[in-house]
């Protein structure tokens, strides 16, 4: 049965090098939590600590009402899907899925029922007698998931399970995992460096960098109200454009970039800013690629003239790198806008969701209504 998971003040150091620093978060029963961050940020270490494959230097781990910090992996009642599948190559698909049940001395009838049930769910029925070597990458990953779900563990752990699959397969596997979560109502901790996976799968995202939690919350909460520059640039695709500058008082609060780009902060968003966002403050302005639109669609009076540098047609939209007042920014224009290199674009900033950060602390200067 699914159980809750509590990570309480967990730190981890290898030979004095601290890789996790005071990590605390809770995963509610049946919740899908995604740990996301760049390579080396410590997200897999958190997962391995939950699995019992690594020991904490400080802190504790609770699964349901049990304190499991010192437990061996086998005693934690967790299941894990590894990045490289980790299937037993000398065993058939059936035996791979049944392995954990055999160790736990389930009856043969129960094992068969559970394996067949998992194979049915994961569309593996016709591969049960094959060895892993005879399967494709997607099928192997499904076997690995099957091995996890037959055990009906308290917590499922996924360690970048889709990173070895091609883009198309990744999409379909993502959907399978989402459906499986709905069906099983399982507690899942999922590690990825792919923010699209994080946004699409998670009930809650935990963003990690350098072993420290940067922010956690619902996917759209992180998208609209990033706590700092790191989260702002990490969540969202393409990454948020960042323009360094300062605030000034020129008949209202005005942003002046380091390269002279200047505009008034719209009155509609002024009330969203924290009191620290005052004239003289060095700031970083964030503009999402999708918030710079053709002038006709704009809702504010902030207009930019941009010169197209590079275009990347993507089909449904075109990604355009352009220069605005000396700053290179990336924007996304929906079809049928297809500018050519050298074109002048008249853009309007859709500034309902302003992103403004303190240049020194990198913390957001925008109020988060949820916090």
């Amino acid at each position: 049965m699914a159980a809750s998971l509590d990570i309480i003040g967990v730190s981890k150091a290898y030979d004095k090098k601290r890789v996790l620093d005071d990590i605390s978060f809770q995963v509610n029963q049946g919740e899908f939590v995604v740990l996301v961050g760049p390579s080396g940020c410590g997200k897999s270490t958190v997962l391995r600590i939950v699995a019992g494959l690594e020991q904490v230097s400080e802190g504790s781990v609770r699964i349901g009402s049990r304190e499991v910090t010192k437990f061996e992996p086998k005693d934690r009642n967790i299941a894990m899907v590894f990045q490289d599948y980790a299937l037993y190559p000398h065993k058939s698909v059936y035996e791979n899925i049944a392995f954990g049940l055999r160790i736990r001395k389930f009856s043969p009838a129960d094992i068969d029922r559970r394996v067949q049930d998992a194979a049915e769910k994961l569309d593996l029925k016709s591969y049960l007698q094959r060895r892993p070597a005879a399967l494709s990458g997607g099928q192997r990953q499904r076997v690995a998931i099957g091995r996890a779900i037959v055990r009906q563990p308290d917590v499922f752990l996924f360690d970048e399970p889709l990173s070895n699959l091609d883009a198309k397969l990744r999409g379909s596997m993502r959907l399978s995992i989402a459906k499986l979560h709905k069906e099983l109502k399982a507690t899942i901790v999922y590690v990825t460096h792919d923010q699209i996976e994080a946004m699409t799968l998670a009930d809650k995202i935990v963003v990690l960098n350098d072993g420290v939690i940067q922010q956690m919350g619902a996917p759209l909460d992180l998208y609209y109200y990033p706590r700092n520059v790191f989260v702002a640039t990490f969540i969202g695709s393409p990454p948020m454009n960042m323009i360094h500058g300062r605030l000034a008082d020129e008949q209202g609060l005005t942003f002046i970039s380091d390269k002279g780009l200047q505009f008034k902060i719209p009155k509609t968003v002024l009330s969203h800013l924290l009191p620290e966002a005052r004239p003289g403050k060095k700031v970083v302005l964030g503009i999402r690629a999708e918030n710079l639109v053709d002038s006709q669609q704009g809702r504010t009076d902030i207009h930019f003239t941009a010169k197209v540098l590079v275009t990347e047609p993507l089909g449904a939209s075109t990604s355009v790198y352009c220069a605005i007042g000396g700053h290179e920014v990336q924007i996304t224009l929906p079809e049928p806008s297809r500018p050519s290199v050298g074109d002048q674009l008249n853009l309007t900033w859709w500034a309902e969701h302003i992103y403004l950060f303190d240049a020194e602390t990198t913390l957001s200067l925008v109020k988060n209504p949820g916090s």
């Binding site: 699995a51 019992g52 494959l53 061996e72 992996p73 086998k74 967790i78 299941a79 894990m80 590894f82 990045q83 490289d84 599948y85 980790a86 299937l87 037993y88 190559p89 000398h90 392995f99 954990g100 160790i103 736990r104 060895r131 892993p132 070597a133 005879a134 399967l135 990458g137 192997r140 091995r147 055990r151 070895n164």
Partner: protein
């Protein structure tokens, strides 16, 4: 032109291989034919591919007139025990060196490798005194200990190298599935290592089965002789019984050949293929 060159090259390769094959097979052929000749035709110089009147009398003689069965049994005991103990110890040691980080780990490994450079014969004198102190002279245990000194470092090196190629995630998956760390080694790592375990076992068998010098120094009672020592007994000062000698030589190749044939099915490579993302 290119085809001709290739044909010439092929011909040369095949000639070299045929000559090498003849050099390898000729002694074997000679010893088999000598073993099958009647006693009065041992030294015949007639050119004959196969003896005109082949007989098994040398085989029956070596089994009935000497302690050959005892020597064979002794060799089997020493070889099997040494091979099994070596493989068990080197599998655990190789696994520890492959998986665990501990102080002096690389030092230990280098030391083991360095011992490979020293032939056991060089250490025979100090070993003899040590074995005598422990009362192991003229015992199976004595020869087994010395043999293991030569087999262990190589087997540890071999198995450590193989364990290095097995992804750790397999053991970790097994631990999450419900095994202890030792259980994962036993039920996942060892079954995947059968090719290298078979090679290690074969290495031990071929090293020990024919060994003479160490056995000569340590074993002194005829009842404990291994077959190489026993065979030497057939050589007299004035008369060597070549027929029996040859028959015994042919006989002793049987167990080691059987061991090789049996283990060849385990020598399949690529057992770990497909388990993890390559």
């Amino acid at each position: 032109m290119r085809g001709n060159l290739s044909f010439t090259r092929k011909t040369i390769y095949h000639l070299v291989l045929i000559v090498a094959a003849i050099f390898s097979i000729l002694p074997l052929y000679r010893i088999i034919t000598v073993a099958l000749r009647p006693g009065d035709k041992i030294f015949t110089t007639n050119f004959e591919i196969f003896p005109e009147t082949p007989t098994l009398e040398n085989f029956t003689a070596v089994f009935s007139q000497t302690q050959f069965i005892t020597w064979l049994a002794n060799s089997l005991i020493v070889t099997i025990l040494t091979a099994f103990i070596s493989v068990i110890l080197s599998a655990t040691a190789g696994y520890a060196l492959s998986r665990f980080r501990f102080p002096m780990r690389s030092g230990v490994f280098m030391f083991l490798m360095a011992t490979q450079m020293m032939p056991a014969v060089m250490l025979l004198l100090p070993l003899y005194f040590m074995l005598r102190r422990f009362g192991l002279i003229d015992t199976y245990a004595g020869v087994i200990v010395v043999y293991m000194m030569t087999t262990l470092p190589f087997c540890i090196w071999l198995l450590k190298g193989y364990f290095d190629t097995i992804p750790r995630s397999l053991e970790q998956a097994a631990q999450v599935d419900g095994l202890t760390a030792i259980g994962a080694f036993w039920k996942v790592v060892l079954p995947l290592s059968t090719p290298s375990l078979a090679i290690a076992m074969l290495f031990c068998v071929t090293q020990i089965w024919n060994e003479y010098i160490v056995a000569r120094v340590i074993l002194q009672t005829a009842e404990l002789y291994t077959w190489p020592l026993g065979l030497f007994e057939l050589q007299g000062d004035f008369d060597t019984r070549w027929g029996m000698f040859a028959a015994a030589s042919v006989t002793v190749t049987v167990p080691v050949t059987a061991a090789f044939l049996y283990s060849s099915k385990w020598l399949l490579t690529g057992l770990t293929v497909g388990g993890v993302k390559g």
